[in-house]
């Protein structure tokens, strides 16, 4: 792989609330996205997926670690105008009911993105057409659309800025079931078509499997397993990935209750020592309680790389 489009190295993001302990939402996560590649980031709610995505956009400052987009570091978004080189990172948010301005016509909101990219040849109607909406919808307001249509508008707005990296932060979870797969495929097709990378965050594994080339599994602020989607699906190696996949119920009519992962997700403000997954892991060993597995692609002592990790 040549220089990846997005590289996140040992990223740490902390949430500080007065009167509460510091929460390390992302605790040393590493991730790479190449141009034209779709990476699915999965994990339970509260594992830091969204915080990671927001840090990549510059919506959260990093406590340590590096985020590089096209070789340039991402700086936190401030009051000043954003560095034009960084407008290539565009995000589609979770809830299309709150991410669109209710008092502006959707055409005007899409035109903002076009202006950012300095594109005067394309009209908002062209972008609406690309996301599968009629051209004359540009004069409408967000409340005139259904959830799935609004998310399409949000995607059109993100695409208007000619992104090199598109980020979807749970873009389908607020949508009806019938619209979910459609919108996910649309994002994939549009990103791949324009040669942009797509970081697709979702807790819905079945949708991620449909659209992602590579999959990254996150647990409590760390990426615990990465690999090509089909490989991870057929042969999950980290016990957490196995538990995640085993929890998906299959529609075979057999009435088998999906496997439950025992225990609770630990408080990210006070993570367990050693491997973060060890209190819930069915295959826990002594080493797991003491040393944190800080290697990849599978961060688990069962899959430690051959030359025993000295770091």
């Amino acid at each position: 792989m040549t220089a990846p489009l997005l590289s996140v190295e040992d990223l740490v993001v902390e949430h500080r609330t007065p009167g509460r302990p510091v929460v390390r939402a992302v605790a040393g996560a590493s991730l790479h996205v190449a141009a034209g590649e779709v990476v699915g980031l999965v994990g339970e709610s509260g594992c830091g997926k969204s915080t990671l995505a927001r840090a990549v956009c510059g919506l959260h400052g990093a406590a340590s670690g590096r985020i590089l987009v096209g070789g340039r570091p991402v700086t936190p978004l401030g009051l000043r105008r954003r560095d034009p080189a960084l407008t290539g990172v565009q995000m589609v948010f979770q809830d299309p009911y709150s991410s669109l301005n209710p008092r502006r016509r959707v055409g005007a909101q899409i035109a903002d993105g076009l202006r950012t990219a300095g594109d005067s040849a394309t009209s908002p109607a062209d972008l609406l057409e690309r996301v599968g909406l009629p051209r004359d919808f540009a004069g409408r307001y967000p409340h005139e659309f259904s959830g799935g249509q609004r998310q399409r508008v949000a995607i059109a707005r993100a695409l208007a800025a000619r992104p090199s990296l598109l980020i979807g932060d749970e873009p389908i979870s607020a949508l009806d079931a019938s619209a979910q797969a459609q919108v996910a495929r649309l994002m994939r097709d549009l990103a791949v078509e324009s040669g942009a990378g797509l970081l697709f965050i979702s807790h819905d594994l079945s949708v991620v499997r449909l659209i992602a080339d590579r999959i990254a599994v996150m647990y409590l602020g760390k990426v615990v397993e990465t690999g090509p989607t089909a490989e991870v699906w057929a042969d999950p190696r980290h016990p957490y990935t196995r538990a995640l996949l085993a929890a998906i119920p299959s529609p075979d009519g057999a009435g088998v209750l999906p496997a439950e992962l025992p225990g609770d997700v630990p408080d990210p403000a006070d993570p367990p020592a050693g491997c973060r997954f060890h209190p819930r892991c069915p295959l826990v060993m002594d080493v797991c309680r003491e040393k944190e597995p800080d290697f990849g692609p599978v961060a688990c002592w069962l899959h430690a790389p051959e030359p025993s990790s000295a770091s």
């Binding site: 339970e44 709610s45 509260g46 979870s173 009806d176 079931a177 019938s178 807790h203 594994l205 079945s206 499997r209 449909l210 089909a230 699906w233 057929a234 538990a243 995640l244 929890a247 998906i248 119920p249 299959s250 529609p251 075979d252 009519g253 057999a254 009435g255 088998v256 209750l257 999906p258 496997a259 439950e260 992962l261 609770d264 997700v265 408080d267």
Partner: protein, 267 residues
Amino acid sequence: MTAAPKTAALTIEGLRVSIGGHDVLHGVDLTLEAGRVHGLAGESGSGKTMTGLAVLGLLPHGSRVSGRIAFGGRDLLEMPARELNEVRGAKIAMVFQDPATSLHPMLTVERQLTEHMRHHLGVGRKEARERAAGLLAKVRIPGPEEALKRYPHQFSGGMRQRIAIAVALACEPEVLIADEPTTALDVTVQAGILRLLRGLCDDLGLAVLLVTHDLGVMSAVADEVSVMKDGLVVETGPRGRVLREPSHPYTRSLLDALPVPPAEESR
């Protein structure tokens, strides 16, 4: 499945609903039995949610209802509002789809968990608090005592839905209507919630109407499955038969639309 007592907890007969002149339900028949989970499948707009809302008398204003919903020898549709209030929340409870809107943002979790408990069951503040902590532990909220003092916005979406389920279970209802209760949850949490629902159904003899579009979820917990399309139940039967040998072409098309997992293709 052991031989559950065949007692109909709730029977819906010929339920028709029209809202603003549009017919939403065209005569729905369903029977919920104590200790059984009845799954209701179908696409969005097929009337699954409306069926659930009709049982609780929560249909939008201006909707016209006809038919019969028999519960405990009474017709819920003809019951005066005062008596329906005694049933709603106490004997028949509901878990809604969206935990972000079904919980009150300005009340603590304790208030939301104990208010209806104290009203319907007449228990004291202290007992209600203990029960509430027990319920939160049951739905696997970490640190239940601590969680009671917090507000919904301090929880993640998955946690909020677990709280909403605890709220519904607080008065130990006979019938639970769960409208897409796990759609917004993580699969690991979903597995836990499905086991919880199944367990409650088996242990307490709860009759559950599980509204979901996810046939995987349906297959995991439902005993009986009904498939709805355009306001009509097109197929009803035991889970194994409906999901393996569907007799209605619509059910078949729903099953065919599912992505086949690669692991099964290679087998």
